[in-house]
Symmetry: C2
């Protein structure tokens, strides 16, 4: 099918250049793109309803990306199409002292969605090989071991009923500036801006290297990474929704039927 | 303003008759009601966005009601209008052994939303004076003490940043039969039917008495109960959304402004 993102190939990892942030030319534009997104969102609403009722698997959606790359907007639009009862969003901030007293996957494991649910991670355990690496929060020998640890953890999850999709929302440096300026000039968006965002922007290339490694080393057959061009929000939402829908579609979901003796209760009720 | 539900008055508690399940005659009907609901849902989307950004209070919405009274549908429609990142739904089931080893409010306290968030309880600590009472799961002397305990707990929460709204979704006995029959005959709804639902239906009057006491004893100035006529789903959703919107409106919410020195960073970015 056209316009369907492919998982990152570890053998040909993306460069994460500004060009990777542009929507692919094959995608519809303007109103046609909006209509395509609306159609995918309707599909998601229907698929999530049966996914929830089916209750045999959990879906974990990991959203990573630099500041202003569209994580919040993706959650609002894409998962806004889901029944809130079947969704749980976890935003991972700087770890608390209690969390730091545990291994870095401890808090992550607690937030894994139960079967029937879609769990959305706004940032994730990947920060432990991104900000932690770029800002030297642990020795290099420590974070270097984490790629394998993460792969093993994610493999464990998928073998135990959790389907994992990881989206790296990728924006260009120019687009980030535009987004930051909007946050600073629009009074309803001021609250989203943190002064520290500029420090991370200054480390752009270091983050690029860290993201590249995370994508390359952790795009596995059981928990693939998708690189999502993020400069156009509608295209981004369309591409993310599309991958989720195809994944749910392949699950062969079904509404559980009640056993005969339960169905027979209808007669009793009609009396 | 017209059509706005009033809190349950402890001095004139509702009888919870079948008549209480009918939408008030003053409410618009048909398409006019659908439009009124759509308008309130749009209002909720806007109010929740600023509530989340404002981040000074939490909102706890308790949904109670018999089987098939519309708790799930209310969550889907009303909170479907909210950003999933600002909402968390907790469905309280029969307590686990670990939960039973604690006092009955222990698991409830853990699920209280943090500031900025709307927490939705699908069933709640009120089950500890409803099913627990009707089915004699604890001695009468135990559940009788709980009304005061719950009021004290809820008072503590409101004094510490949590606004509480409690909705009792009330359907007639006939409407429940219709809903049960639909679940039994529509294969996509079978999964929502539990054979035990009929046992609770057989105890209809006992539940009525238990609900009446819960509404009467626990509709407080700080955590009011609203009795929501539930036989018409659109009217129900409209009335619930309306109360939430008026509550949020009164909070005098505002988008936090960034301090001058942060706003000045825009110049640095433009260079």
């Amino acid at each position: 099918m056209p316009h369907l993102l492919k998982p990152v190939s570890p053998r040909r990892p993306p460069s994460l250049s500004d060009r990777d942030a542009k929507a692919p030319g094959s995608l519809p534009r303007g109103d046609a793109l909006k209509e395509a997104l609306a159609h995918e969102l309707e599909r998601l609403t229907a698929l999530q309803a049966v996914f929830y009722a089916d209750g045999r698997r959990a879906l974990l959606v990991v959203l990573q990306g630099r500041d202003a790359s569209g994580k919040d907007g993706t959650i609002r639009t894409v998962f806004g199409a889901c029944n809130p009862q079947g969704c749980q969003v976890t935003s991972f901030k700087a770890p608390t002292p209690t969390e730091l007293a545990h291994d870095y996957l401890w808090r992550v494991h607690q937030a894994i969605p139960p079967r029937g649910m879609i769990g959305i991670f706004n940032r994730s355990h990947y920060e432990d090989v991104l900000v932690v690496r770029v800002r030297n929060l642990v020795p290099a020998a420590t974070w270097k071991k984490r790629y394998d640890q993460i792969n093993a953890f994610e493999r464990h999850l998928t073998e135990n009923g959790v389907t994992i999709l990881k989206f790296c929302l990728h924006i260009s440096k120019d687009e980030q500036r535009e987004q930051f300026l909007e946050r600073l000039t629009d009074p309803t968006k001021n609250w989203k801006f943190r002064a520290g965002d500029l420090d991370d922007r200054a480390l752009w290339n270091d983050y690029t290297a860290a993201y590249r490694d995370a994508l390359k080393k952790c795009s596995t057959p059981w928990a693939p990474w998708y690189l999502v061009p993020g400069d156009n929000a509608t295209a981004r939402n369309y591409m993310v929704t599309r991958v989720i829908n195809e994944t749910l579609q392949e699950m062969d979901l079904a509404y559980p039927r009640a056993p005969k003796e339960v169905l027979a209760l209808a007669e009793k009720l009609r009396k």
